[in-house]
């Protein structure tokens, strides 16, 4: 028992010395992310790669393995066509293909039918068409929604904690939770759907959970030392993030046969949760510790 407490004590005292250094890692990652998004913007004119329902056009999902010839067959008539394959995660079997193009659904459908040689029906395909005017509206509105929600969330945080620095720490962590996954998605070249943007909204709510927990325990409780309280919050918070990850990862890795837009929601949540671990327990925690040290809260 004695040795255990002593090593715990050592760990906690180590934190006293190193927390400022720990702050550097997430800040650096955050800066890299922002820089990358800036670079992406200058190259592509937007902060994210939009999928067909946000940029306008048709997406036709065809069941079954249709072979490689489709893309070459369509490229002539539809120069901007792109084909994505959906494969079963476990068996690697090719289960469906998604053909995307900015053209009208009737045209694309006929083009595909003439290359494949058979008709696309209710049974073997699904279509999604969004006019370009509507998709532009969608996109703009969803981005505005994201900004509004973020601001509203910030207001709620300020009302809850009533102190400046801790609130800013929470808001900064939430901001990083969105920026880091976005940079990664851009880097991987993934197209984001409206459902994906909704996932970012969801992330706002999910990520502040752990930050609120940390801040509440550090500032409002009085038992034990500050380090012990932060560590206690860490144990609870990690479990929370871990179970949340367990709730979202299976949709992406274990279960197939779910629509792409659905899986994207869970992928974005998962990335955000990973980012949250860094941002809450390195960034936010370090800022809180700094604040408490300055204020003499032990």
């Amino acid at each position: 028992m004695e040795t255990q407490t002593r090593s715990l004590d050592e760990k906690l005292r180590w934190y006293d010395h190193s927390y400022k250094i720990m702050l550097i890692i997430p800040v650096v990652i955050m800066l890299i992310s922002l820089v990358y998004i800036g670079y992406f913007y200058s190259k592509n004119g937007d902060i994210m790669q939009k999928d067909i329902s946000l940029s306008g056009g048709t997406a036709i999902t065809i069941q079954g393995d249709i072979g490689e010839s489709l893309e070459t067959g369509l490229k002539e008539k539809f120069p901007d066509v792109s084909i994505r394959k959906l494969a079963d995660i476990r068996t690697g079997k090719h289960i469906a293909s998604i053909v995307e193009s900015s053209s009208q659904p009737q045209e694309l459908k006929e083009g595909i039918e003439s290359v494949l040689g058979y008709n696309l029906t209710d049974e073997n395909s699904s279509t999604e068409f969004t006019g370009s005017a509507l998709s532009e509206n969608f996109y703009r509105q969803l981005l505005i929604t994201l900004i509004i929600s973020f601001i509203l969330m910030s207001i709620v945080i300020f009302i809850l904690f009533k102190t400046f620095i801790p609130s800013i720490a929470v808001i900064f962590a939430a901001f990083s939770d969105i920026v880091m996954p976005l940079a990664l998605l851009n880097f991987l070249g993934m197209s984001i759907s409206p459902a994906g943007i909704a996932a970012f909204l969801m992330l706002i709510g999910y990520s502040v959970d752990t930050d609120i927990l940390l801040t509440t325990r550090a500032l409002k409780k009085r038992e034990g030392t500050l380090n012990e309280r932060i560590f206690g919050a860490f144990k609870t918070g990690i479990l929370m993030t871990f179970t949340a990850l367990i709730a979202v990862l299976p949709a992406f890795f274990i279960v197939t046969g779910l629509p792409d837009s659905f899986r994207q929601i869970f992928l974005i949540l998962a990335l955000g949760l990973f980012a949250d671990i860094i941002n809450t327990w390195l960034t936010n925690a370090s800022i809180i510790k700094w604040y408490c040290d300055k204020k003499g809260i032990k």
Binding site: E123, T145, L213, P250, L258
Partner: protein, 506 residues
Amino acid sequence: MKLSIRIWVLIIVLFLAFLAIAPWHAFEKGVVIKSIEKNSTASEAGMASGMVITSINSRQINNIGDYTNAMNEFFPQQLQNRTKLVVQTKTKEFILLVQEAPRITVDSIPSTNIKKGLDLSGGARALIKPEKALSQGEMQDLIAVTAQRLNVYGLGDVTIKSASDLQGNRYMVIEIAGATPSELRELVGKQGKFEAKIGNETVFIGGERDITYVGRSGQDALIERCFDVSGGVTCRFRFAVYLSEEAAKRHANITSSLKVNVSESGRYLESSLDLFLDDTLVDSLLISEDLKGKVTTQIQIEGSGTAVSQEEAIKSAQESMKKLQTILITGSLPYKLEITKLDTISPVLGKEFTKNLIFLALVVFILISAVLFVRYRKIKITLAIILTMFSEALITMGIAALIRWNLDAPSIAGIIAGMGTGVNDQIVIIDEAISHAQISLKEKIKRALFVVFAAFFTIVVAMLPLFWAGAGLLKGFALTTILTVTAGILITRPAFANIISRIQKE
């Protein structure tokens, strides 16, 4: 074991949710009628969509397979003579005399009251934008006209409503569940051509140019009388229509050369006034003898509805009347329509999705339970968390069933995301409760609830704008997330806090 109020509330709400979902429908035998072709023998006999067929000619019909087999057996091809078909539904018995299978579409009875969204059932969704901004009234007219047209095609499961987005644009949202007609684009995108013809000549067309007024109430539109006919009751309606001078003159010209037919229902001209909508005949009206050759700007359009009872006959007549009134008023829409979004989802894919969704839910449940058990090592605590997860999902689905909300893919993602938050909250409560702080259990729970409430507000606030952004296409996500976390805050969290206190006290 005395249960506190909060736990009772949870139990009662769960029970109500269970009732709302009504899963016992899964055990119901029979097939449900989805749609009936107009003027068919079946519709004239009084059969209607929604009725459940349980047997035909004393043969048990338990499912779609039984129905198809029975139809194939009774009508391998169109029969020479009409044969008697005794169709038994849950409430009534219908006797039809037909030469071929009744012109109805049937489907298996849905196993619950939960309405499946298009992503789960397959179907089509269209977002239509009129080329000019419409007023509330004009939008309602547009919806009526569109419903009208889709009806002509015998589509059963159609929802049409208006939606607006953050920029104030107004759209008409059409959702058709099940199979999609390939002519859907034509169907919803057309302006709507209405013509009234005698023979090949057009007398008048719908809309303001030829029709200046359509009676809708009072003396201008009413059910005239009802009388018995063999097998039921027929009610006749009439309503006034004022034609423009030009249309009236045309009418006079065309009818002046027609002969008169004398029949037992009255003296009418040999040709009828045929009403065409988008080149499809929707009705044929007899022209009374007095109108021959007359320039009359005021005409009466008559028709009737027939059904088994007087009450139903009146209803049928009113519906026919409304239909005609709508066509005559709206006829051709004065503005163009643009299809801004059109999605078709294959029912096959929809079924796949449902299956995989259930699988996903199970996987998540098992994994989360395992993790929590490893952490807390107490069966009771793990069970308590599982109970609350399950409760929140059930309550949200119960509310969705109650308000007839379509559960589509985003809605379901919202439920799963909401449950994730719920688990997080439970963990906060448990950790606080089992911590070694030197304050009362009640105080600890209060502190935990502060974090829980804070998280609740941030999520609700983040989801709210989704109700309007993008014509509400992601409304489902926002609604179910908010419902799930609210059910959590108001019902399951307090009950859970109670349960944990008890477990701690032991």
